[in-house]
């Protein structure tokens, strides 16, 4: 796109009419910011504020979990026994690795390493895909086919006399479902990032989007770090 000489707002001085520099070099901050630094700090703070709302969203689920676990501990014990902690462990490892690749992607954007930036974005996307596959095929489908569904949909044929187990399943499906939907949204964001990185939008001077999506993905990972022991490791 043709650059507009914004006078004192031009980050690197006035630009020539035909600017062949990559996007991340030509990028000029929105005019209400002093410079790119200012915009970057503002973007970061905005993302952190959004992450606060995400943390509070998940805290609602966690408090519901705490209430029902305190009221019906046996239901949680027997319900958790249906979960295989090894799938949960595998999912945790996958998400931790994806956290590493996303931090590496930010680093590569900072150093201007376009190739590895793209590779790491793809790796993070694939990690999300693996997570959803494990969850969907080995956990969700299995639970669904056994009738271990929340609340009034509970129809497990071998149910023992544990009265409130459908409540546990409500907590399980609700918490992991909301988390999985956040993973899906994250994967969409990484697809968007990949397309932009192919167009060389990101570089040392401009990588706001990579940073922001990375922060979001880390919160998703942190939530799973808490969900895993709370759901799978109840004894």
């Amino acid at each position: 796109m043709a650059t507009i000489d914004l006078g004192k707002h031009g980050a690197h001085g006035s630009a020539p009419v035909n600017d062949d520099r990559p996007y991340h070099e030509r990028y000029q901050a929105a005019h209400h910011f002093v410079d790119r630094e200012h915009e970057f700090d503002a973007v970061k703070m905005g993302v952190w504020l959004f992450l606060s709302t995400e943390v509070l969203l998940f805290s609602g689920m966690f408090v519901a979990y705490a209430i029902f676990r305190m009221m019906y501990p046996d239901a949680f014990l027997s319900g958790s026994a249906h979960l295989d902690y090894r799938w949960g462990l595998l999912n945790t490892v996958v998400l931790l690795l994806s956290s590493y690749t996303v931090a590496a992607a930010v680093r590569h954007a900072q150093t201007g390493n376009q190739k590895w930036l793209q590779i790491n974005i793809i790796l993070t996307f694939i990690a999300g895909l693996i997570f959803l596959t494990i969850k969907g095929v080995f956990e969700y489908y299995k639970k669904y086919s056994e009738g271990l569904l929340p609340g009034k949909f509970y129809s497990y044929p071998y149910a023992e006399n544990v009265p409130y187990e459908p409540l546990w399943w409500g907590i399980y499906w609700g918490a992991t479902g909301i988390h999985a939907s956040h993973v899906i949204v994250g994967m969409g964001l990484f697809a968007w990032l990949y397309v932009r990185s192919r167009k060389r939008h990101f570089g040392p001077g401009h990588y706001n989007a990579v940073e922001g999506v990375g922060l979001y993905w880390h919160i998703v990972d942190i939530v799973w770090i808490f969900l895993f022991p709370m759901l799978y490791l109840i004894h």
């Binding site: 690197h12 501990p73 490892v93 006399n161 544990v162 990375g214 880390h218």
Partner: protein, 222 residues
């Protein structure tokens, strides 16, 4: 195109080099954090397996809060290192740290007061304890309420036996059996005066004489 030629000089610090004032976290730091995260994950799983093993081998009942406390503290440590290094909050403006810390504080208030309340419901009125609330009408199971309440009654009984080792005061009796109502009829008593009866053994009721009236010398409670 990979513009390493910055307009100003880069100065190196302990964790990497600075660029436009942004800290670039070094690869060594990232890999160390990843290794720590994987280690703590295995530690969490290991702690649970060890707990189960101890409970099975030595036949001890480990209270649930031990499990929760260990799991949550390890998760908290993992969260801190993810936030500080992967999310680079350590190298960031302190304002973002304040935002995050106050969010966590809010969550702590939310969770803490809820748990405090729920955990102490039974302190004054025992019947308000959370796990006494049982039964329910079986709504949603598709059964008529008369049938589901019968199932609930049986379920509650087995649930109580199941929970007996958790109970602080032993298995709970229905209110008619808990000693509030005297089983033995009081002969010779009238509405104005109750006379203690001793030495009567009725068929099927082997109630010792001391139990024919409660401690206030009164008859059956209404």
């Amino acid at each position: 195109m990979t513009s390493q030629a910055q307009p100003h000089a880069e100065h190196f610090d302990a964790h990497g080099h600075k660029d436009h004032g942004h800290t670039i976290v070094s690869v060594a730091t990232l890999r160390t954090v990843l290794a720590l995260l994987l280690f703590f994950t295995l530690l969490t799983v290991g702690a649970t397996l060890v707990e189960v093993w101890i409970a099975d081998t030595f036949n001890v009942l480990i209270p649930q809060w031990v499990n929760v406390f260990v799991a949550l503290s390890i998760a908290a440590v993992k969260t801190v290192i993810v936030v500080m290094f992967f999310m680079q909050l350590k190298y960031d403006s302190p304002l973002n740290t304040m935002i995050f810390v106050f969010t966590l504080l809010t969550v702590c208030f939310f969770l803490g007061f809820t748990v405090l309340d729920l955990g102490n419901r039974g302190t004054i009125d025992r019947f308000k304890e959370g796990h006494i609330l049982r039964g329910g009408t079986g709504l949603g199971t598709g059964m008529p309420i008369t049938q589901s309440s019968k199932i609930a009654a049986v379920t509650n009984q087995t649930y109580d036996e199941h929970l007996a080792h958790h109970a602080h005061h032993g298995p709970r009796l229905p209110i008619t059996e808990a000693g509030y109502v005297s089983k033995v009829p009081l002969a010779g008593s009238s509405a104005q005066r109750s006379k203690p009866v001793q030495g009567i053994t009725l068929e099927g009721l082997s109630v010792p004489a001391a139990q024919t009236e409660d401690e206030h010398g009164e008859g059956p409670a209404h």
